[in-house]
């Protein structure tokens, strides 16, 4: 019992440490993307909850709405990875602006498919 509470304490302190280092070390423009990611994540989760609650009836609409979230999330994650200065060695030839351009093109394509599908 003591050990368990000890473990949780350790765990929470680790989380706290992580959070603090995130607050301190992460650039603001990455935090901005993170906020955007969380926004997308919850939009998706709420739609999924709704689908679970009322059934899959306009299934195509659900798929369109949900994939628009998933797709946006994936694209935003890509953008975050490619614009992160820490990863600049891995993406040598790709400037943040180039990554952003990819992000925009892919989003436009994604929205086109979503609109096609939403019915």
């Amino acid at each position: 019992m003591v050990e368990k509470s000890n473990l949780t304490e350790k765990f929470s302190s680790a989380i706290e440490k992580l959070w603090k280092s995130y607050q301190k070390d992460t650039a603001q423009n990455l935090k901005l993307i993170d906020a955007y990611l969380v926004f997308i994540l919850f939009s998706g989760i709420f739609q999924f909850m709704y689908c679970v609650l009322v059934g899959t009836f306009p299934y195509n609409a659900f798929l369109a709405g949900f994939t628009s979230c998933v797709g946006s999330f994936v694209l935003a994650v890509n953008l975050r990875i490619q614009t992160n200065p820490e990863n600049s060695n891995e993406f040598k030839g790709i400037s943040p602006e180039r990554a952003f351009a990819d992000f925009v093109i892919c989003n436009i394509l994604l929205h086109f498919f979503v609109v096609n599908f939403i019915g």
Binding site: A35, L41, F57, E97, F100
Partner: protein
């Protein structure tokens, strides 16, 4: 030779009477009738137990219907006499007929009549006629012969026959019952209140996004600090907006060909403007402004 002569005389005499009767009056012909006496019915079950015995006095009928089930044996005995001479006679037609009250079908039971007028008939339900099925039947005794013009159609009583098999269904041309297609039920929609609430719930992350961005100190400083690039960047963003509005219109009313032609125009514009805009942004970064 003599016998045949007598026969002929007899026959012609009968003819004469017949003719006379018909000519004089059609009503008054009771001279040549029959009388039925000593009518008895007995039903025994399949294990030879006597279930019922009834005697009926002509011309009255049975008071209660008689039940006949599978395996039963019905025996009927009676004697036929000439009404006039009171002698037993042997008519040409002596038949017991079961007439179904439901289907109008008739089933005969053959009666054997001896010279002295004694008659007996039997209906064995173990080997019942094939067109005898469960139902209500009326039993009639029909007596008729050529020499008599007063035949008898005597209603004896009702029989309820109960057998395990039923009549086959005959194919008959005629209107058939209507068939209505049962459609699959329409998809049930959830209450609109739930849909509307979730519309709002799905919009809730916006509060988080705006809140967090404000908290992070998100700003639009380049808007003021670099006014030279504003027109290009704004045009770029406006083409993106135009594309999104085009998608909305595609959803509402446009078809795919209209959409694609518009989209190709916008995307070329967006590509050119985007290149210029993003190189400007890159310029800011290289200048160390970002």
């Amino acid at each position: 030779m003599r016998g045949s002569y007598v026969n002929i005389v007899l026959l012609s005499w009968q003819f004469f009477v017949l003719l006379l009767c018909t000519i004089i009056s059609a009503q008054e012909t009771s001279e040549h009738g029959f009388v039925i006496t000593d009518l008895k019915l007995a039903v025994t079950t399949s294990d030879s137990v006597r279930k019922l015995t009834e005697s009926v006095k002509y011309p009255s009928s049975l008071d209660n219907p008689i039940e006949l089930s599978q395996g039963d044996n019905l025996k009927i005995i009676f004697s036929i006499q000439d009404k006039e001479t009171k002698k037993g006679i042997q008519p040409h037609q002596s038949m017991l007929i079961l007439s179904s009250k439901q289907t109008e079908s008739q089933t005969p039971i053959i009666v054997t009549v001896r010279d002295n007028g004694k008659a007996r008939a039997e209906l064995d339900m173990r080997s019942a006629p094939e067109n005898l099925f469960s139902g209500n039947y009326s039993l009639n005794l029909i007596i008729g012969t050529f020499s008599h013009n007063n035949p008898i159609n005597y209603y004896i009583g009702t029989f309820n026959i109960d057998v395990s098999y039923s009549s086959p269904v005959l194919i008959k041309y005629g209107p058939k019952p209507e068939i209505h297609h049962i459609f699959r039920p329409d998809q049930k929609l959830p209450p609109t209140i739930i849909s509307y609430s979730f519309m709002i719930i799905v919009l809730l992350p916006w509060l988080f996004l705006i809140g967090t961005w404000i908290h992070l100190g998100v700003n639009v400083s380049f808007l003021t600090s670099e006014p030279g690039s504003i027109p290009v960047i704004f045009s770029f963003l406006l083409t993106l907006l135009a594309i999104e509005i085009l998608f909305y219109n595609y959803w509402i009313h446009l078809n795919i060909f209209q959409t694609l032609s518009w989209l190709s125009g916008f995307s070329i514009l967006a590509f050119l403007l985007g290149q210029k805009a993003l190189s400007d942004v890159q310029g800011w970064r290289l200048k160390g402004l970002r």
